[in-house]
C-alpha cells in the first residue's frame, strides 16, 4: 500500500468492519462470569459481581484498576443514554509498519479483543440527565495510544459537542503516541488541540479526567487543556515515563513521582477524585457550569 495513492483518501475500511463481529459492549465487563477479581496491588480478591459494583476499585486497598472504555461509559453515563459517535471510523496502516509483527495484525487483534474500532469510544450521553459529549480511552487497545483514528474520533467528539452546545468530558488512559503510526501519531496532538479551540470559542467547558496512565503525547496536548482537570487516585501521569528518565539522567525519583497526588500538589490538577465519587463530582460540575452566566440561577427560583 503506497502512502499518498488515490485510495488514501478513503478512510472507512468496510472490509475490516465486516471482519469484526461487533463493536457493541461485551456482555461481561472486565472479569469472567462467576470468577474472582484479584487486586493487582494488594492481591485481595473479590467476586466479579462485587468488583463491578465497586467500579473495579479494590475495597481493601483502594487501588483503581484500569477499566475498558465500555466499562467507563457504563459507570458514568445514565443507563441507556449513551449514543455512540463514529462507530465505523477506523484508520489504516499508513507506514506499512512492521516491528516484531505487522501493525495491521496488532490492530485486528485489538479490535476483536476490546470490541472497539480503535482506542477510544465517544458519543452523546447524559450524566444525571445533563447532556454531554463523552469520550473514554481504552488502555487495553494498544495502550490507549494516539492513532490517527483515535485523534479523529476525539476531534469529532469535541466538534460534535460544540455543535450540540454540550460540555465535553474525556476520560484519558493512554500511554501517548502510537509508534506504529510515526509522525501521523505526533500530529494528533495538534489535531486535538485544534478541535478544542472550537469548543472554547463556543464557551463550552472541557472536563479532562486523567486515569491511569496518562502519558506522553496525550497529557502534552488535549488532556492537559481541560478547563477543569480531575484525576483518579495514584494514576501515573507525566510527559516522560519514569524508566526513561532514570535511564537518561540517572536521577533519583522523588516519592510518589508522577502520581495524580504529585501533580495536584504542584497545581497541575484540580482534584484527585475516587472513582466511586467521580460521577457525582461530574454532576456537580455540570450543574454549576450549565447554569446561566452571572448571578441568575433559575433552578434555585
Amino acid at each position: 500500500m503506497l502512502p499518498g495513492d488515490a485510495s488514501s483518501a478513503e478512510l472507512v475500511r468496510e472490509e475490516a468492519m465486516s471482519a469484526s463481529p461487533t463493536y457493541s459492549p461485551p456482555q461481561a465487563a472486565a472479569a469472567p462470569e462467576g470468577g474472582e477479581v484479584v487486586c493487582a496491588v494488594c492481591s485481595s480478591s473479590q467476586s466479579a459481581a462485587a468488583a463491578a459494583a465497586n467500579l473495579y476499585v479494590c475495597p481493601a486497598c483502594g487501588a483503581h484498576a484500569r477499566i475498558s472504555a465500555h466499562e467507563r461509559i457504563r459507570q458514568l453515563a445514565d443507563p441507556g443514554s449513551f449514543q455512540v459517535w463514529d462507530v465505523n471510523l477506523e484508520g489504516r496502516d499508513r507506514l506499512g509498519f512492521f516491528d516484531t509483527r505487522a501493525y495491521v495484525d496488532r490492530l485486528d487483534e485489538a479490535r476483536l479483543r476490546q470490541h472497539l474500532p480503535d482506542a477510544i469510544l465517544s458519543g452523546a450521553a447524559q450524566i444525571s440527565s445533563i447532556p454531554v459529549g463523552l469520550a473514554a480511552f481504552d488502555f487495553g487497545f494498544l495502550g490507549g495510544s494516539l492513532s490517527t483514528a483515535v485523534g479523529e474520533r476525539l476531534a469529532r467528539a469535541i466538534e460534535a459537542s460544540a455543535e450540540a452546545k454540550m460540555p465535553f468530558i474525556c476520560v484519558t488512559s493512554s500511554g501517548g503516541a502510537r509508534m506504529q503510526e510515526g509522525v501521523f501519531s505526533l500530529m494528533q496532538m495538534a489535531k486535538s488541540v485544534s478541535a478544542l479551540h472550537d469548543l472554547a470559542e463556543s464557551h463550552l467547558p472541557f472536563i479532562s479526567v486523567l486515569a491511569d496512565p496518562t502519558m506522553g503525547g496525550s497529557i502534552a496536548s488535549f488532556a492537559a487543556l481541560g478547563d477543569v482537570i480531575l484525576a483518579e487516585p495514584k494514576a501515573m501521569i507525566g510527559f516522560t515515563g519514569a524508566r526513561v528518565i532514570t535511564q537518561a539522567t540517572y536521577e533519583q525519583l522523588p516519592a510518589g513521582f508522577q502520581t495524580s497526588e504529585f501533580h495536584h500538589a504542584r497545581g497541575l490538577i484540580d482534584q484527585v477524585v475516587d472513582r466511586r465519587q467521580l460521577r457525582e463530582l461530574l454532576t456537580q460540575l455540570l450543574r454549576v457550569l450549565s447554569a446561566p452566566p452571572g448571578d441568575i440561577d433559575q433552578s434555585a427560583a
Binding site: P3, G4, A9, E10, L11, V12, L89, G91, R92, R94, L95, F97, F98, D99, T100, T148, E152, A155, A177, M179, E181, G182, V183, S185, L186, M187, M189, A190, K191, V193, S194, L196, H197, G216, G217, I219, A220, S221, F222, A223, A224, L225, I237, G238, F239, T240, V244, I245, A248, T249, E251, Q252, L253, P254, F257, Q258, F262, H263, R266, L268
Partner: protein, 278 residues
Amino acid sequence: MTGGEGDGSATAQEMASAWAQVEGARHPDRPYSLDLIERCLDEFIELHGDRQGGDDAAVVIGLAKLEGRRLAVVANQKGRTLEERGRRNFGMAHPEGYRKAQRLFALAGRLQLPVISFIDTPGAYPGVAAEERGQAWAIAQTLEAQLALPTPYLAVVIGEGGSGGALATLLADSVLILEHAFLSVASPEAAAAILFRDAGRKQSAAAALRLEAENLMEWGIVDEIVPEPPGGAQTDWDGTADLLRPRLVARLEQLVSRGVDPARRRERYRRLDGLFQV
C-alpha cells in the same frame, strides 16, 4: 514497506537511508539555530526569560528583520562547546523554555509580528525537575498558543525534530525542512526501546518510522524541502544560509500577502493526515 527477510521488516538499504538522515541531522558540525539566524536574518536582538521566573537557554527568542520586514523569532538552541552544551541542555527544553516560546507568541500577536521558528531539538528534556514543573502542561499550552497566533507563522526544521518538544514550535502556516533534517514521533532510540525493547535497534526503528524529509513532504506535513550544500549543511554554513534565506523570504512574502487567519492554520492541523472524509 516490503521486507528484507520477507517478513515486512526494513531492508538493509531502508535502514541505511533512514539512519543517514538521523546522523546528518545530528552532525556535530551542523549549523545550529543561532548560526543560521545570524546568516539569514538581519538585526537579530535576543530577548530573555519567560516572565514567570525562568530563562531556559535551550530556547532562544528575539526580534529581527528579514528583507526589511520585522519579525519575532523562536528557536531551539544546541550548544557547541562542552560548557554551552550543558547550559543549553543539548537543545532539550524544560517547561520554562516552552513558556518562553509562549511569551514570544503572545508578544508577536500583540505587536503584529510574523514569527519564524527554527526547530532543532532531540525533544523535551526527560528529567525530574521538568516533570515537577509541568512539562506536559507547558507543551500543551504552547501548542494552543501556536494555533491561536494571529500573525503569519513560518517554521523550518534545521536538524532534529524530536517528538512533542519539536511540535511545540512547529505548528506554522508553512513548514520547511532542510534536506538532511528529520521530524519524528520519538527519537529512533526511544522508538526502538518501545517497539523492540532494545534501544540498540535504532536503525530498524528509524527505517520503520520513515522519518526522512521526502516522506514528510509526500504526506503534506512539510511544504518544502530546502536543499543543503553538497556534503550537507555541516560542510558549509554560509552556503546553507544562502540556500535557506531566499526560501524564508519567499514563504514569508507569500504568507503576508495571503493574509493570515489562525482558523485556517487550525484547519490545516485538523485535517493534516488527509485520511478522513469530512
